[in-house]
Symmetry: C2
Subunit: 195 residues, 2 copies
DNA sequence: GTCTATAGTTAGATAGAC
DNA sequence: GTCTATCTAACTATAGAC
């Protein structure tokens, strides 16, 4: 059978479960999401889930790596642009284009990190930090290529602004927050001098 | 008895439960916090909790109003300063002084809002938005008094920066994020022209 | 590999003694 | 008003048939 040939680590069902976990956990949060919720979304019978993921935490970890994968897809596309400033602008535009989802459920990685950071066991909090660092590092590289003197500080400011505007848009249930802050960030990028 | 004279709405035990709820929910999150956890922290027997709060959601709502009360205490103190710019600087200094707590558990109101926004019942999410709006409105008034043309946009930027730096400090477990971003915000305030 | 039935555990809520 | 004992529901995880 095709699945068994590829092994369970990469089977089609496992992939469906990962994607369902990412989506459902984004909407409901990790604590409120049951294995049954994910199984239903992935159209896999509940009992069968445990063949692919031994515990619920493994499914949450899978949701995190799914978000990391999505992020790498985006930065990979942006890397094709030659101007680092254009790459950063593309990033902001991608954020703003997701404004309705952000206003309803927040940033997928940011809100999951908030939830996992309330734990003191399991190490999933560290994993969430790693995904956020992935974004910070990529942004920092763009500022570095722009010849900015403190690329790491600027990366903190830009990613922090994104997490902040996502949280406010979510708490106020207003996607307009993402538009206003997004426009401000684009203008800010333009105001930075090239090296 | 003293308590019964004042009624259960304002008894000493009820107040202890409210404060315990605010603290424990900040550290563990609303979902992972059990009634027993709060009862223990407040030194009240579990069964007795239900005399003061009929459901767990009422306790979470109590935690939210406790945060609102803390916020009003802070802005009340800052309101004694005559210069609105000094008030905003005082706010930022208060945020930075809480950097260790923020790096471990995030902003009490912000992280609770994130968690409650994953629900679609109960209306606690709206309540969380209200508390955040309390802060936004106060900040907006300061920018208005400073004669700034778009005080609401500036308030979004400042409060968004706070929520963003708290989330990043928390996810990276690094209070230094609060110091760096706090210093940047102070310099930004200084760069704004007076009217 | 797939799926059903169920064991085992935890926590929210209530009844009722004091 | 206070507190103990307990009911009930929900969910994770496993055993085992197919």
């Amino acid at each position: 059978m095709k699945e068994s040939a590829r092994g369970r680590a990469s089977s089609a069902k496992r992939q469906r479960l990962m994607r369902a976990a990412a989506e459902v956990v984004h909407r409901q949060g990790a604590e409120r999401t049951t294995i049954a919720d994910i199984a239903r979304a992935a159209e896999v019978p509940v009992g069968n889930v445990y063949y692919y993921f031994k515990t619920k935490d493994e499914l949450v970890a899978a949701a995190l790596s799914e978000h990391a994968r999505q992020l790498e897809l985006l930065t990979g596309r942006l890397d094709r642009l030659t101007d680092p400033r254009a790459r950063l602008k593309g990033l902001i535009e991608a954020w703003v284009s997701q404004r309705d989802l952000a206003a309803r459920y927040g940033c997928p990685t940011g809100t999951l990190a908030v939830e996992l950071d309330k734990r003191d066991e399991g190490g999933l909090d560290v994993e969430a930090g790693r995904v956020i660092r992935l974004l910070l590092t990529w942004v920092e590289r763009q500022f570095h290529e722009l010849g900015q003197p403190e690329p790491d500080g600027l990366a903190l400011t830009l990613v922090g602004a994104y997490q902040g505007m996502s949280l406010l848009a979510n708490a106020l249930r207003d996607p307009g927050v993402m538009e206003r802050e997004g426009a401000r960030l684009l203008a800010w990028l333009d105001s930075l001098e090239a090296a």
